[in-house]
């Protein structure tokens, strides 16, 4: 008895080591979900979570109940741009898909100022979720500036202008009008494509075409001429770089416009004193600068007119929860449990550590200690099915301090039935198969030595798949 206690302690230490060993693969599989694992429990299941907290993995999803996501438009990105920079958002809607294949719809909700809130349905435990938010509103004026620059650099637009030149060259005004109409249509398509690339799509595509089409056709002259003026002003022979104080060859149309808009008469005077150009050239450049700026403003106003009345949608995705690897582990946990514990074999008087896999009779929700579900056809059988499992495993080291174990090689196969008492603990019973190691008596080896034998066992165990949560609870209580 004196020896039993320290030996049992040593055995428990062995079980602890075994727990760590069994946890290692799970921990490895979950290494990408650390933030969710350490999420503050207080915010989980509160019924409302902040979009920013979900995005930065500061909170876990409130599984098992409907909840709301609240946010601010300043926190949302569409197409790589901050939503607040591109759109005056008015409504938010969308949908979501969970890792177990379920889909849900996010009902449209009005945005008050910059604040928004959406309702999400009940999510199954441990699923990861991809939210697709659709934000609808009108474009902000700043978008047109970037759209002009993108349009002029777009290969499709360059091709469209080349096609126009080929079609309109040496033609009268009637033929030219046809070519300008085609250029306008191509320009509308290119502008739509550029907006799409920025994550902005018209809520009704026909609206944009109907609104932008006539405006572009009416302004095709400044649009085309701006495209032609741009390279002429960047011609090194004109020395515009000396005027604006920077290399103009790499500037976009928007950047060049901003540089030229910042020029004062003093800048032109300074250019005159240091430039080798004559007055005629400098005056011509000054005139072309005015025309370029006029054309730029005309195009900007045209795009504003064509787009301001059109409702646009911006998409923003948010993936919350587990990664694919951990989803697999979460899914596996619905069908099998991995336990370690101690078993007692009465007939051979041995207490041994063991590791087992428990196979359920279908998917279970170990986190829900729910009352009987009236929607299930046989709720009592369902309750039993949720708790009972087939068990297979191995019995490991002796914990009772037996000086001579009867089990050959210390390992034995165990099988039986497990009953889950709660989320973490289980009671298992069944048989233990092993080969005997019997001591020789009077120099004679027993004929039973090495024979395959079976013992009945019973013992408690702990579900190691639930341990990460258990660990976080202990860590929290310690930190509190």
């Amino acid at each position: 008895m004196k020896m039993l206690f320290p030996t049992a302690l040593s055995g428990l230490a062995s079980v602890a080591l075994l727990l760590s060993a069994l946890q290692a693969p799970l921990a490895s599989a979950k290494k990408n979900t650390q933030p969710a694992k350490t999420a503050p429990a207080a915010k989980t299941g509160s019924g409302s979570v902040a979009y920013a907290d979900l995005k930065s993995h500061k909170v876990a999803l409130p599984y098992g109940q409907p909840f709301t996501i609240t946010g601010d438009t300043t926190e949302v990105q569409v197409g790589g741009n901050a939503l607040k920079d591109v759109m005056q958002a008015q409504t938010v809607a969308g949908d979501y898909t969970t890792s177990d294949g379920n889909k849900g719809t996010i009902a449209p909700s009005s945005i008050t100022g910059t604040s928004w809130q959406v309702a999400i349905g009940k999510l199954a435990a441990d699923t990861s979720v991809t939210f697709n938010f659709q934000l609808t509103g009108t474009l902000l004026a700043g978008v047109q500036q970037t759209v002009i620059a993108s349009m002029m650099a777009d290969p499709a637009y360059k091709a469209a202008t080349s096609q126009f030149i080929s079609a309109a060259q040496s033609k009268d005004s009637v033929a030219a009008l046809g070519a300008m109409t085609l250029l306008s249509q191509a320009t509308v398509d290119i502008l739509t494509s550029i907006l799409n690339q920025k994550g902005l799509t018209p809520k009704t595509p026909a609206d944009l075409k109907n609104s932008l089409g006539p405006v572009i056709l009416a302004n095709i002259e400044p649009i085309f001429n701006l495209t032609q003026q741009f390279p002429e002003l960047r011609n090194p022979a004109l020395h515009v770089a000396e005027l604006v104080g920077t290399d103009v060859s790499a500037l976009s149309a928007q950047q060049l416009y901003e540089k030229l808009s910042g020029l004062s008469d003093a800048d032109y005077q300074a250019w005159k004193s240091k430039s080798k150009q004559g007055d005629a050239v400098r005056n011509a450049v000054k005139e072309e600068v005015k025309r370029f700026k006029d054309a730029y403003r005309s195009v900007l106003a045209a795009l504003n007119t064509g787009m301001q009345s059109v409702m646009f949608q911006g998409s923003s995705s948010l993936v919350v929860g587990n990664d694919q690897q951990s989803d697999l582990v979460s899914d596996l946990k619905k069908y099998a449990g991995f336990d370690v514990g101690a078993l007692y074999a009465y007939r051979i008087s041995e207490l041994r550590s063991f590791a087992m896999v428990h196979i359920y009779f279908g998917p279970i929700d170990s986190k829900t200690e729910a009352p009987l579900d009236p929607n299930v056809k046989h709720p009592h059988w369902e309750a039993i099915r949720q708790r009972v499992s087939l068990a297979f495993g191995i019995a490991l080291k002796d914990l009772s301090g037996a000086s001579q174990s009867k089990i050959s090689g210390e390992n034995a196969f165990v099988y039986g039935v497990g009953v889950r008492l709660n989320k973490y603990f289980r009671l298992s019973a069944g048989g233990m198969l092993y080969r005997t190691t019997l001591p020789a008596a009077n120099g004679t080896t027993s004929p039973a030595n090495g024979a395959l034998r079976q013992e009945i066992f019973v013992g408690p165990s702990i579900d190691v798949t639930a341990l990460p949560a258990l660990k976080s609870i202990f860590a929290k209580s310690q930190s509190n």
Partner: protein
């Protein structure tokens, strides 16, 4: 050789229609031949340039309506193109008012 063009534009005083361009000569100087294509009407004009000189060259024409106007220079890769309304007269609605 022409090194660059600027300010390709149209003028119409109700009697005479002209298209003009500012042309910049490079360091060679000499006589340059400029070819204007004013919608469906082609016009050629020669002008004498001093080294690095820039000046406005104009041609008269009878083309009407809005369309593509192009000017090129013989022996140079420089080209200037604009869509121009050749009928527009000073004071017409839509006539550009240039601002600084």
């Amino acid at each position: 050789m022409i090194a660059g063009f600027l300010n390709l534009e149209s003028a119409n005083d109700g009697t005479t229609r002209t298209v003009s361009v500012f042309a910049l000569e490079d360091a060679t100087g000499g006589t340059e031949t400029l070819q204007f294509q004013i919608l469906d009407q082609a016009k050629t004009v020669t002008a004498i340039f001093a080294k690095n000189e820039g000046k406005t060259v104009s041609v008269t024409h009878t083309a009407t309506g809005t369309g593509l106007v192009t000017v090129t220079a013989a022996g140079s890769a420089q080209t200037s193109r604009r869509i121009l309304d050749l009928d527009q007269q000073p004071g017409d609605v839509g006539t550009a008012v240039h601002t600084a």
